[in-house]
């Protein structure tokens, strides 16, 4: 108890402006800390790695012996308008399939087609691709015809 009283007296001895400065300082620190709980960033979005790991599980096993593959999705044409919405899926694929190198081009023998939202038939016809394996939910292992 004496210890607390002593510390309190010590705090009281500070000049008024120092006490006000310390009080304001800690008030701002505490409000910023509390406010940080509501701070939203990319990291606060729902974790997509788990979902994509499950999605790519079978493809990963099939591609185990490969060095590099290509990656194809809706943004295959420049200016398609899908660039921002699908780019993270590409990075996720690379993250999950590592050490396999996933290239965003069509130069490799095998191509991972990732079309989770809608039809891909037209794209495959346009690019002369055929399906080697269909993993479902728009995930395809492709090669050239």
């Amino acid at each position: 108890m004496d210890f607390i009283v002593k510390n309190f007296i010590e705090l009281k001895k500070y000049p008024g402006r120092v006490k006000l400065g310390i009080f304001l300082f800690f008030l701002f620190c505490l409000t910023s800390t509390v406010q940080a709980f509501s701070y939203h960033d990319l990291s606060w979005r729902p974790e997509k790695v788990g979902q994509y790991e499950a999605r790519l599980k079978n493809a990963k096993a099939d591609l185990a012996g490969q060095e590099k593959i290509s990656y194809l999705t809706y943004d295959y044409k420049p200016g398609s308008g899908y660039e921002n919405s699908v780019i993270e899926n590409y990075y996720l694929s690379q993250y999950i399939l590592a050490p396999l190198i996933v290239e965003k081009n069509l130069r490799n023998k095998y191509i991972l087609g990732d079309f989770p939202w809608f039809n891909y038939e037209e794209i495959l016809t346009e690019l002369s691709l055929k399906i080697v394996k269909n993993y479902g939910e728009g995930l395809l292992l492709l090669t050239y015809r």
Partner: protein, 451 residues
């Protein structure tokens, strides 16, 4: 095996720190300074040694493990020898006691920090964008295929194949030795560096200005939302901030004790900042320039000797960075095409105004603070008063010069950036400012009167 490996690294770092630093009287803060420095050094040396082993093509077999043990044994033997050759007196430290009420507030802020960090790690175990797609991706490639680890140079440009490997190798090292890709390891790295930074900042201020000031500094850092967020997001700006702060503190210790051995350690920590991220290379240049400029203006004659000792610690790390850069693709900033554009960029007035505007914006809105935080910091200057005796000291002046040079350096980097400038500024400037934030807090409180 993991334990044995860690023991060797920690023991070597301990002896290196003990050899280079003066013997302080044992108080919790002097121990904390050493613990933080030894930890940062251990992580850096561990990743450097793995890079040497991987480059020398020692893989995950007995050769690797035996070579590693031999490597660290030799390292230990050298420092045990050096250590016992030096007998030193313990240096007194007058650490002023903390007020219990101020300490309680720090404990509350620290508790909230932990709560928030753990919450974020649980929600996002793989970290945020850069952590996943740059650092942890490289750790995965190195761990999953160590024989072909150079595949990290083939990944997409977003993953910055040219970025140095301190964090990816530190993570991969633990995975390789434990033979398990445990996601808790990169998470622990992120939190460890945050805690090391807070611990070092507190201890550095406590031994120079007293425990109350140390608490204010630690509270300011812990309640910076961006610091908390990026630490738990496993971003490398936090480790880089730690190495900057450690270098700054070592500079202060050098100017207090004028022992050249401290400069060896300063060189090593400065080098490790360059091994953490390319931004750290700018720090190395700024530190050397600040030493030379300061000595020139103050007419100090021993600068050559100082630079010699600094290079003794810096050169081994720089050599490894150089070897790495020889293997990695050339960075977009210094590629041949980019170099050709430098002249054009430097004479474009719009670039200056855009960069100035962004610097202003990110200064004012730095850290995702509660509005008005800068006014509070300015008010605190009036409340506590500036310590004139401190700000005229060489340690403060050279450190302030260093931080200013880094800011000028950042400005210049943006000026010559080959990337889309608006995007580049908006995606990186707040993180660059966060890198120097712990050092800034140290200088800020160092320059104020004690409480």
């Amino acid at each position: 095996m993991l334990l044995l490996s860690l023991t060797f690294i920690i023991a070597s770092s301990y002896l290196l720190v003990k050899f280079c630093l003066p013997e302080f009287v044992i108080v919790p803060e002097s121990v904390l300074v050493k613990v933080c420095l030894i930890s940062g050094l251990s992580l850096g040396l561990g990743s450097l040694s793995l890079f040497i082993f991987l480059s020398a093509q020692y893989y995950l077999n007995w050769n690797y493990k035996i070579t590693e043990i031999l490597f660290w044994l030799v390292f230990l033997a050298i420092f045990i020898f050096l250590h016992y050759r030096t007998n030193r007196e313990r240096q007194e430290l007058a650490v002023k006691n903390a007020n219990i009420f101020i300490a309680i507030i720090l404990a509350v802020i620290f508790g909230l920090y932990l709560w928030q960090s753990i919450g974020q790690l649980t929600q996002s175990p793989h970290g945020a964008w850069d952590a996943k797609y740059v650092w942890n991706l490289k750790s995965r490639i190195i761990f999953r295929d160590p024989e072909h680890w150079t595949k990290i140079f083939q990944v997409n440009s977003w993953a910055h194949p040219d970025y140095p490997l301190l964090l990816p190798l530190s993570t991969a090292r633990v995975w390789l030795i434990s033979r398990s890709e445990n996601q808790a390891v990169p998470q622990a790295m992120g939190i460890t560096f945050s805690l090391l930074t807070v611990g070092l900042l507190y201890a550095a201020l406590a031994i120079t200005k007293g425990r109350n000031t140390g608490i204010l500094g630690a509270a300011l850092l812990l309640s910076t939302p961006l610091f908390v967020n990026l630490g738990a997001s496993q971003y490398l700006d936090i480790p880089l901030g730690f190495y900057y702060l450690a270098s700054l503190l070592l500079m202060f210790i050098y100017f207090k004790f004028s022992d050249y051995k401290i400069l060896i350690l300063l060189g090593a920590f400065t080098g490790l900042s360059g091994w953490a991220k390319n931004d750290g290379l700018l720090f190395i240049v700024c530190l050397l320039v600040s030493f030379i400029l300061f000595s020139f203006f103050k007419k100090r004659e021993k600068v050559l000797k100082e630079l010699f000792f600094l290079f003794a610690g810096l050169a081994p790390v720089l050599l490894i960075i150089f070897a790495f850069k020889m293997m990695a693709p050339i960075d977009g900033l210094v590629g041949r095409d980019a170099l050709a554009d430098w002249g054009k960029y430097i004479f474009t007035a719009e670039r200056y105004s855009l960069i100035f505007a962004h610097f202003k914006y990110y200064f004012v809105n730095f850290g995702n603070w509660t509005k008005g935080f800068w006014f509070m910091l300015i008010f605190l200057i009036f409340a506590l008063g500036v310590s004139r005796e401190r700000v005229i000291k060489s340690d403060f002046q050279i450190s302030a010069l260093l931080v200013s040079l880094i800011l000028v350096g950042y400005f210049f980097v943006y000026l010559i950036s080959p990337y889309e400038l608006y995007f580049h500024l908006n995606t990186s400037l707040n993180r660059l400012l966060l890198q120097i934030w712990p050092s800034f807090i140290f200088l800020y409180f160092y320059s104020l009167n004690e409480i």
